[in-house]
Symmetry: C2
Subunit: 400 residues, 2 copies
């Protein structure tokens, strides 16, 4: 999806019909929220609307022309392109067409930036557009599905090569670095977009043995002590040994739309792993089977959490479900341009599964003394069936 040289100066890289359909869905949501206009400043949302990232804002009025206020890069061309050096110049362009109410991404835009924009739109009532944009982006169209499928395909291929990347005597971080390289050579962009800027993670997680039980600063399904206290998450230099599991949960952003996938590896025959490890892994696969049946438009997201927890209890594995020393508060999440999209599969989620949702399910267990088990796959919810975007063997995979 490289920018072709003939398109280099084109602002909107999406197909016209796709771009218009996204704007129309946004406008329907704006209408419901009583929002006369929306000013989009976040990279993920700009990419959603245009198919590229730039510095500037997208102004979407309820009716009338969409205006792209651009600062960088220079020389972009397209309908509605206006170059501005500072947001104050937006007022000059809009003139008397100032909206009565304006949506801004209040959940992610810095306070100072919002205060400055409030002055630019001094007459307008400011409303929070973050929930609305999250809702609209949670439903993926065919153009997004195509990019998701491509990411999934590449991620599955890279994971299939992991047993050959492992060499005896490797540490978790050494294996991770080889997976990073293989991913990048296959086209992984590396960028790991997380909404809100407080969660930090580099290219994903490889967790070996008991390191998976080290609590992380974030609400991640699994922890890891990390290599440095400035980034205390993930691989910590653990030597990979017989009898421990290695969980691989790496970046799947190959196209701007990412998939999310976890598989479990081990040194030596799977039979050498403790029985409880194998049982918990089977339980994760069973939870996938049952939850996929529930990925039907109209289902409450929290029902999926409840069912999964019920199964874990039934099998006597509740103590290890979604972490042991520290537990994650969710077992699945929407994924797309960012890793933490809607719907959220969590006990108190108010989300309802809808057609077009792309959901990563990650029922996982941490078994002290052995490590993390369980798989993660990304599913696309069609009106009448579910498509697995990361289809790959689900059993524990021995390195040799």
């Amino acid at each position: 999806m490289k920018i072709k040289s003939q398109d280099y100066n084109k602002l909107v890289l999406l197909d016209n019909a796709v771009s218009q359909e996204r704007v129309e869905r946004l406008r329907a949501a704006m209408q419901d929220a009583g929002m006369a206009a929306l000013l989009v400043t976040d990279n993920a949302n700009k990419y959603f609307l245009t198919g590229r990232v730039f510095t500037g804002q997208v102004y979407v009025p309820l009716s009338g022309e969409v205006i792209y206020f651009i600062r960088r890069p220079l020389k972009l061309e397209g309908d509605g392109v206006v170059y501005v050096h500072k947001p104050e110049q937006i007022a000059e362009t809009l003139g008397l067409n100032m909206p009565q109410s304006l949506g801004l991404e209040l959940d992610i835009t810095a306070y100072s930036t919002v205060e400055r924009l409030k002055k630019v739109f001094s007459g307008a009532e400011i409303k929070n557009a973050s929930p609305l944009l999250r809702q609209v982006r949670a439903v993926k169209d065919d153009a997004a599905l195509e990019l998701l499928r491509m990411s999934g395909k590449k991620q599955v291929y890279v994971y299939s090569r992991i047993p050959r990347l492992y060499k005896e005597g490797m540490s978790d971080i050494e294996l991770q670095i080889e997976i990073e390289r293989a991913s990048r050579l296959e086209g992984c962009l590396g960028q790991f977009r997380i909404s809100g800027d407080s969660m930090e993670l580099y290219m994903g997680n490889v967790l070996a043995g008991d390191n998976s039980d080290n609590p992380s600063p974030y609400d991640f399904a699994m922890g890891g002590a990390g290599m440095d206290p400035s980034l205390p998450v993930g691989a910590d230099g653990t030597l990979i040994k017989n009898g421990m599991t290695v969980m691989v949960d790496m970046n799947g952003d190959y196209t701007g739309y990412m998939t999310d996938m976890t598989r479990i590896y081990c040194v030596g025959p799977v039979e050498n792993l403790p029985g409880q490890v194998r049982k918990a892994h089977e339980c994760s696969i069973r939870i996938h089977r049952e939850l996929v049946k529930m990925l039907v438009p109209g289902t409450e997201a929290k029902a999926l959490w409840q069912r999964a927890e019920e199964i874990a209890r039934e099998e006597g594995l509740h103590e290890y479900f979604m972490g042991h020393r520290q537990k994650a508060g969710f077992l699945g999440h929407g994924v797309g341009i960012e890793i933490n999209e809607l719907p959220v599969i969590a006990p108190r989620s108010r989300d309802i599964i809808a057609a077009g949702n792309t959901v990563a399910l990650e029922p996982k267990f941490v078994i002290p003394g052995a490590g993390a088990v369980g798989i993660e796959s990304t599913y696309f919810v069609h009106p009448d069936h579910v498509e697995n975007l990361t289809p790959a063997p689900e059993a524990i995979i021995p390195f040799d």
Copy 2:
């Protein structure tokens, strides 16, 4: 700098004296700004104060005990640690000791988060603590210098290996991936912290030939089209050929404190490059020599920009200085926990060079038809001399 297992549960990983001195410098600035208390929520600022990252806030009153409101990870221990699930619980802990005025990081904290905290501290006047924290962090202490030196040393070593990583027929991105791997194996954390969340970049830039003249969405010294419109910056798949330059400007975060360094490489003898390319590279080195003399406490940062521009004009290279089709608005920047710290070396900067500043200078040129030239090095400003944290050969380096 791995967290040692005996320190795993310790909240403050900095030496006590270091931590206290940082808090005292912050308090002196708060006093000047009339701020009765400060609530720190940003990861970079929390790392500055404690030496680790966690989810939660650091509450610094002008006098009295510092309180650490922590949500994750579990089980951290230390004076002043209070576990909370939500910011509203902060009020319960503070009780009657609510401050009259409160500093918040308004330039980076989301609007919704600030509004929520305003309700928690309902009586307090809210002030912007972002400028103050940037000022305090711009002056590095000995503990920070030690980490900066270690990052610089490792970055210099990795750059020395780059000629051996190049193989004939490689594209820019293939070379970048090998440099990423070599950096990671040497301990590079990968995390590239940028204040504000609108600038995105993965592990740095390798720019070959004319790709360096492709405008980027950001105020980066050099551009690049990137591999995908969702991340339109950096390497774009250009095949590395005779007669073009290859600029390497990769992530130098090995310790939580990063250095910033650029060197230029080429295929075949340097003499084969056009004369103007070699002249512009020499000019960059000359600018470094002259600007380092000006890195003296008390100098206006903008004077460095002016002097550099003057030299570029003198040598008839102004058209290519700091970019050609799109120019960067700065030629140097503070660096530390984040890549864009103070002081900023730019035409309208109001910063004054101070002892303890760590400044990356990057006078660069883009020569159409050949590529980018010029070096970047990171300097530490001592009271009476300047220390180059990334000392390495400055000339253009042939791959063979």
